[in-house]
Amino acid sequence: MRIFVLVKEVSDTYGDRKLDLVTGLADRGAGEVVLDEITERALEVALSHADAHPGTEVVALSMAPESATASIRRALAIGAGSAVHVVDGQLRGADLGVTAAVLAAAVRRGGPDLVITGNLSTDGSGGVLPAMLAEHLGFALASAMSSVTIGETEVAGSRVTDFGSQRVTVPLPAVVSITEALPDARFPNFKGIMAAKKKPLEVLSLADLGVDVDPAGVPQSILTAVSEKPPRAAGVKITDEGDAAGQLVEFLAQNRLV
């Protein structure tokens, strides 16, 4: 079986995340970048299946600027067998529609049985890409999966819904998005890091994929304004000496919160 895992580099949420106030794009220079934790978990789902099923091929796919090579190598170091990196100057500031069309073209080219993604990116928080991909590819979709069992012809597991949980089965080929209830990825060890240097990392452009992102052709969502809010300031801080609860009640009453 061939599994594509969609991995994404994001600004490290532990650092300061900034938007460029002129372009409205994430300012990747402002802090550290990391492989999004949820996409590492998606990779772990594929790798643990591969551990138990020799012959499983795991390919990491990302659409990201050229600077993201180290993050993609990390996916290889964790254990993906190969990687595909879609890079193209025209993709700067790509909206969800363009991103979905491009990733779908890269998936189609690889012809996997299964595509595993995170349910939500920590930067865009769109949570729509898996569904958009499924629609482009004509694959079935199982979204927000909190447990996943991969079979020969279908994937089964438990899905988070807005009102509880649900058992679902989805026929292959499928797109499966996973939640952070699934385990963290294994840590890349020294052997993995060395091996990653030799694993195939294919770099593709829009021309290689035959995708045209002409803004006159398909409507896109664009940023029309961006502004920064002043950070919150700290207020009073007291140390409890037996009367803190009383002081808090007073504060709440004065502010008409009780």
């Binding site: 529609g97 958009m132 009102f163 801080k237 609860a245």
Partner: protein
């Protein structure tokens, strides 16, 4: 039949019991800011009269109903919304930024080649058309988005819209839907993860009391629930509290959980990691109780108490109860 001018299509999320999800009034309220709300209720035949009534009561001018097959996940609802889109030719499509809503919105945008804007906290119109307003990176930045051309599909953050529409004398009309037959997952009935409670819904709550790892155990987490009850608030949690099994994931506040903007947010035994703050720092007033004076939660708290929660919270509950009595 004709549709009202400037129709705005709204997809109503329907609960397994056939009711309209709590997001409905806000979605229709947002639609009314832009034009005439036309709601779509797609559910298995004969199950969702309550949702139809709720959409009408919330101010939809037309409610389009579609009987859908309950087995396949999402696809029948997309088929219904697509049929409505083609019939109504709206100025915008508003969908809840819920798990179900996101899947439908993404698929509709691809099918109809529409620009998609996600997680809006507000909508408006300018001379070029419909604009979505967003609060990103935990409210540190505000952005606007709009389509380069055509009609936008917008997912709207649950609980973020205060606007409400007046109830209209809604026309209820069945939709004609052709099934796309697109491959789909098959789902079993949804099982509730927890018993329904009388507490307010986390999203949109005026008061939220959240507990973290500092509570130490599931049993002790009851302190957070008691405090929430005496304040009439909803219960939230940090990811560490959810991971430790103190409370189900639906209560997680933060970047990968729910974003809340209540009047009052009380953080109990929560360090205030940046990912947690991303989901609550737009609250009007923040109160923190933590025994570590260096916890980052104090950087955003209007009123911080450095102290042991097991001492302070019981006293707090007692004094608030006494005040109410």
């Amino acid at each position: 039949m004709a549709y009202p001018v400037n129709p705005i299509l709204v997809l109503v999320d329907v609960t397994p019991a056939g009711a309209a999800a709590p997001s409905t009034a806000g979605l229709i309220g947002a639609a009314a800011l832009l034009g005439s709300p036309v709601a779509v209720v797609a559910a298995p035949a004969g199950t969702a009269q309550a949702a139809v009534d709720a959409a009408a009561a919330a101010g939809a001018q037309v409610v389009l109903t579609a009987d859908v097959d309950g087995g396949p996940v999402t696809v029948p609802v997309v088929d219904a919304l697509q049929a409505a889109f083609r019939a109504v030719q709206p100025d915008a499509v508003l969908v809840s930024n819920s798990i179900a809503g996101r899947d439908v919105a993404g698929r509709l945008a691809v099918r109809e080649r529409l620009a998609l804007s996600v997680d809006a906290v507000g909508v408006s119109r300018d001379d070029q058309g419909v604009v979505a307003h967003h609060s990103v990176f935990g409210g540190a930045f505000l952005t606007d988005s709009a389509p380069t051309f055509g009609v936008p599909v917008i997912t709207v953050r649950q609980g973020a819209i205060d606007a409400r529409a007046d109830a209209a004398d809604a026309r209820v009309e069945p939709l004609e839907v052709t099934a796309s037959g697109a491959p789909a997952a098959t789902g079993e009935p949804v099982e509730a993860v927890e018993a329904t409670s009388s507490r307010p819904e986390l999203r949109g709550a005026k008061v939220v009391v959240s507990g973290g790892r500092g509570l130490g155990s599931k049993e002790s987490f009851a302190l957070v629930e008691d405090l929430a009850d005496v304040l009439g608030g909803a219960v939230g949690a940090s990811r560490a509290a959810v991971d430790a099994g103190f409370i189900p994931y639906a209560h997680q506040v933060g970047q990968t959980g729910v974003s809340v903007s209540p009047q009052l947010y009380v953080a109990v035994g929560i360090s205030g990691a940046i990912q947690h703050r991303a989901g609550m720092q737009t609250a009007k007033t923040i109160v923190a109780i933590n025994k570590d004076p260096d916890s980052p939660i104090f950087d955003v708290a209007d009123f911080g108490i450095v102290g042991d929660l097991f001492t302070v919270v019981p006293q707090l509950i007692e004094q608030l109860r006494a005040r109410k009595a």
